[in-house]
C-alpha cells in the first residue's frame, strides 16, 4: 500500500468522524433529563467521542480494505463468504432450509419464544415473496405494500367476526379483497414509474391506514377489532376445555393440553402459506406473464414494440402481489386475535421493501436470508430496547457495504432448453 493512500484514507476517516460528530453531538451528546420542575440538559460527551472514534476507525478499515483487499482478513473473508452464495448453492440452501423449517418446532432448544420469532420471520418472508413479484420481478417500486396486508387482515377480521365463517373460507376471500385493492391501486399508477410511482404507492398505504382509523362504524377506528376467531385444526379448535359435545385438538388426539399446539399449528400454517407463495412465483416466472413482468422491468418501450400489453401486465403484478399480502394479513389477524391500524404503519412497508432490496431484487432465497438477517438481528437485540433499531440499521449498512446489489444479486434464467447444461 502506498503511503499517500494511507494518508488519503486517514483524511477521509477524519472527515467521516466530523460527520459523526455533527450527528451524534446533538442526538447522543445532549440528553434531556427532567428534574423536579423543568428539563435539564445533561451532556454525555464521553459516549459521543467513543462513537465518533468508532466511526473513524471503521471508515479507516473499510478504506484500507477497499484499497487492498488481502491485507485485512476480517473484511475480505467476510465479503467473500457473502459473494460465494450463488444461485446454485442457494438451491441446496433452500432444500436444507425447508427441511430445517419443517423439523424446527420439535428441536430440543425450541421454546415458545423461538417459535414466536420464527413465525414472525416467516410472515416477513411471505410478505417479502409477495412484494418480490411487484418490486423484484415487475420492477414497480411499491412503498405502500402494507396496505394490502391491512386489507387482508381487516377483511379476515370483519368477515370472521360478522359471519363467523371459518378461517379456510375467509382466507381466500381476504386474498381476493386484497387483489381487488391491488387493481384499484394499479389503475391510477399505470403511467407512473420510478420515484413517482413510489410516492403514489406511499400515499396509498397511508390512505388505507387513515381510512381504517376514521371509518369508525366499520373498522372500530383506533380501538381495532378484538376477538378475532382463532384458526381451527380442520374443525378442531385449540381449547383447553371444549364445549359440551365438541372435540378439541388435544382431546381428539388424546394429548395433554398445551398452548404450544396452537403455536406449532400457526407455525406450519404460515410455513405452508409462504411456501405456496414461493412455489407460485417460481412457476409463474416461467409463464409468458411472468416473463413479461421481468421484461417490463427491463424496458417498457421494447415491451410495447413486441406486443406486450403493459396495462394488463402491471395490473396482474399488482393484483397477485396484493393477494399474497392479503393472505399474510389474514394470518396476522388470526394469530394476533386483535388488530388495529397501528400494526399497519409505513415502517412495515419500509421493512418489507428493505427485505426485498437487500435480498437482491427478484431473488427468492435472498428474501429468506434478508428476513432472517434483519428480523433475527432486531430480535436478538430486543433486550437492548431502544438500541435495537441501531442493530437493524447496522445490518442494512453491512449488507449495503458488502453486497450493494443485495445478498443474492444473480438472476436465475427461466429457460434452459434443448438439453443444454451450460
Amino acid at each position: 500500500m502506498q503511503k499517500q493512500d494511507i494518508i488519503k484514507s486517514f483524511k477521509d476517516s477524519l472527515f467521516t468522524g466530523l460527520i459523526a460528530l455533527a450527528l451524534f453531538g446533538p442526538i447522543v451528546g445532549l440528553r434531556t433529563a427532567s428534574k423536579g420542575e423543568g428539563l435539564f440538559i445533561t451532556p454525555q460527551w464521553g459516549v459521543v467521542f467513543l462513537l465518533v472514534g468508532l466511526c473513524i476507525l471503521g471508515r479507516f478499515l473499510i478504506n484500507i480494505n477497499s484499497a487492498r483487499r488481502t491485507e485485512f482478513k476480517i473484511f475480505s473473508t467476510l465479503s467473500s463468504k457473502f459473494s460465494s452464495i450463488t444461485e446454485d448453492k442457494a438451491k441446496h440452501f433452500a432444500i436444507t432450509g425447508i427441511l430445517f423449517a419443517v423439523v424446527f418446532p420439535f428441536l430440543p432448544f425450541t421454546d415458545r419464544y423461538f417459535m414466536d420469532v420464527a413465525i414472525m420471520i416467516l410472515t416477513y418472508i411471505m410478505l417479502g415473496w409477495g412484494l418480490n413479484i411487484v418490486v423484484g420481478l415487475a420492477g414497480l417500486l411499491d412503498l405502500g405494500y402494507v396496505a394490502f396486508y391491512a386489507v387482508g387482515a381487516y377483511s379476515y377480521a370483519l368477515i370472521a367476526t360478522t359471519f363467523g365463517w371459518s378461517f379456510w373460507i375467509c382466507l381466500p376471500l381476504a386474498g381476493l379483497f386484497a387483489a381487488f385493492f391491488g387493481i384499484l391501486l394499479g389503475f391510477p399508477v399505470l403511467r407512473l414509474r420510478g420515484d413517482y410511482l413510489a410516492i403514489v404507492t406511499l400515499g396509498f398505504g397511508e390512505i388505507i391506514r387513515i381510512i381504517l382509523i376514521n371509518w369508525y362504524e366499520v373498522t372500530n377506528g383506533p380501538d381495532g377489532i378484538t376477538g378475532i376467531p382463532r384458526p381451527s385444526f380442520f374443525g378442531l379448535p385449540f381449547k383447553r376445555s371444549p364445549d359440551e359435545g365438541e372435540m378439541s385438538f388435544h382431546t381428539f388426539f388424546g394429548l395433554e393440553y398445551s398452548t404450544m399446539h396452537r403455536i406449532i399449528f400457526l407455525y406450519y400454517l404460515i410455513l405452508v402459506l409462504a411456501l405456496i407463495t414461493n412455489y407460485f412465483t417460481l412457476k409463474i416466472r416461467k409463464l409468458p406473464v411472468g416473463r413479461a413482468w421481468e421484461a417490463l422491468r427491463e424496458d417498457e418501450i421494447a415491451c410495447k414494440s413486441l406486443g406486450v400489453n403493459p396495462t394488463n401486465t402491471k395490473l396482474t403484478a399488482f393484483a397477485i402481489g396484493a393477494m399474497f399480502g392479503g393472505f399474510a394479513g389474514s394470518f396476522f389477524a388470526t394469530r394476533q386475535a386483535f388488530i388495529s391500524p397501528e400494526s399497519f404503519t409505513f415502517i412495515e412497508s419500509a421493512i418489507i421493501v428493505a427485505i426485498v432490496v437487500l435480498g437482491g431484487m427478484g431473488s427468492q432465497t435472498g428474501v429468506v436470508l434478508a428476513s432472517i438477517f434483519l428480523i433475527g438481528i432486531t430480535e436478538i437485540f430486543r433486550d437492548l430496547e431502544q438500541y435495537r433499531m441501531i442493530a437493524f440499521g447496522g445490518a442494512m449498512v453491512l449488507i449495503m457495504v458488502f453486497k450493494p446489489k443485495g445478498i443474492l444479486a444473480n438472476r436465475k434464467p427461466t429457460i434452459l432448453m434443448h438439453g443444454d447444461k451450460k
Partner: protein
C-alpha cells in the same frame, strides 16, 4: 400494404411530423433517410402506436390502425425493432426471443420459429443461455431483429440497425435484412442515418426533413441524386 397519409404527430406543443405520406407495398424494402431530429423514429413509433398521430391516418391492408394500442398493432403483423436495440439485458438470449413470441399465440410454434432465428443468426444459438447485456452491439442488434421476427410479422420496422455497430457487422446485418425480405417474404420499412447502405438496400426510398417527406424515388435514383449526395452521402467531407 402499409399506407401512411398526412400523419402529424406532436410532443406536447412541438410538432415532430408535419404531414407525412408514405406507401410501403407488399414485399418491398423501403428506406427512410434523414438527419438527426428529422422525425424518423417518431414516425416508426407512430406506426407502432406508441406515439399517437394527432392528424392523418395509417392503414394496414385497408384497416385503420392509427388509434390502436401497440399490442393490437403487433397482433396485426407489424413489429418494430426499436432504436438502440432495447434488448432485455438481464434476461438470457432465449428468454428475449421467447418474449418476442409473446403475441404469437403465446409461442405455439416456438420451437420451429426459434430455429429459424438461430439459422439466420447462428451466433445467437451459441449464446442462448447468456444474458442479453453481455452480447456485443452487433449481436444485440441481431437479437433485437430475431426477437421481432419471433412475432411472425408481415412488416418489420427497423430503426437504425447500424447505430453504434462495427462496420463489418453492419454489412452482415444488412445482408440478413435482405435475406429476411427475400426468403421469409417479410416487408421491410427501414429507417437509417447510414444513407448509403440504406439506399443500396432499398427498392424505394424517402427522405425526411423536419417532419416532412421532401424527396422520394427508387433507391438507385436517390443514390445518384445530387442534393442527397451533398446532404447525406458525402456531406460530411465535401461541405
Amino acid at each position: 400494404m402499409l399506407k401512411i397519409s398526412n400523419v402529424e404527430t406532436f410532443y406536447g406543443k412541438i410538432q415532430a411530423l408535419r404531414g407525412v405520406d408514405i406507401d410501403v407495398n407488399d414485399g418491398e424494402i423501403v428506406s427512410l433517410i434523414g438527419s438527426n431530429g428529422a422525425g424518423k423514429s417518431t414516425l416508426l413509433m407512430t406506426i407502432s402506436g406508441v406515439n399517437k398521430a394527432r392528424n392523418g391516418n395509417i392503414t394496414f391492408n385497408g384497416e385503420r390502425i392509427e388509434n390502436r394500442d401497440p399490442h393490437k398493432i403487433v397482433d396485426l403483423g407489424i413489429c418494430q425493432v426499436p432504436e438502440g436495440r432495447r434488448i432485455f439485458s438481464r434476461l438470457t438470449v432465449e428468454e428475449n426471443l421467447r418474449l418476442g413470441a409473446y403475441t404469437n399465440e403465446l409461442g405455439k410454434h416456438f420451437e420451429t420459429d426459434i430455429k429459424e432465428v438461430y439459422d439466420l443468426f447462428p451466433v445467437l444459438s451459441d449464446r442462448k443461455t447468456q444474458r442479453g447485456g453481455t452480447l456485443s452491439g452487433g449481436e444485440q442488434q441481431m437479437l433485437a431483429i430475431g426477437r421481432a421476427l419471433m412475432s411472425k410479422p408481415k412488416v418489420l420496422l427497423l430503426d437504425e440497425p447500424s447505430l453504434g455497430i462495427a462496420p463489418k457487422l453492419v454489412n452482415q446485418i444488412f445482408a440478413s435484412i435482405k435475406n429476411i425480405n427475400r426468403d421469409k417474404n417479410v416487408t421491410i420499412f427501414l429507417v437509417e442515418q447510414n444513407a448509403k447502405k440504406a439506399l443500396e438496400l432499398a427498392d424505394r426510398a424517402y427522405v425526411l426533413v423536419n417532419g416532412k417527406v421532401t424527396i422520394m424515388g427508387s433507391g438507385q435514383d436517390l443514390l445518384k441524386n445530387k442534393d442527397i449526395q451533398a446532404a447525406y452521402l458525402e456531406g460530411g467531407t465535401k461541405n
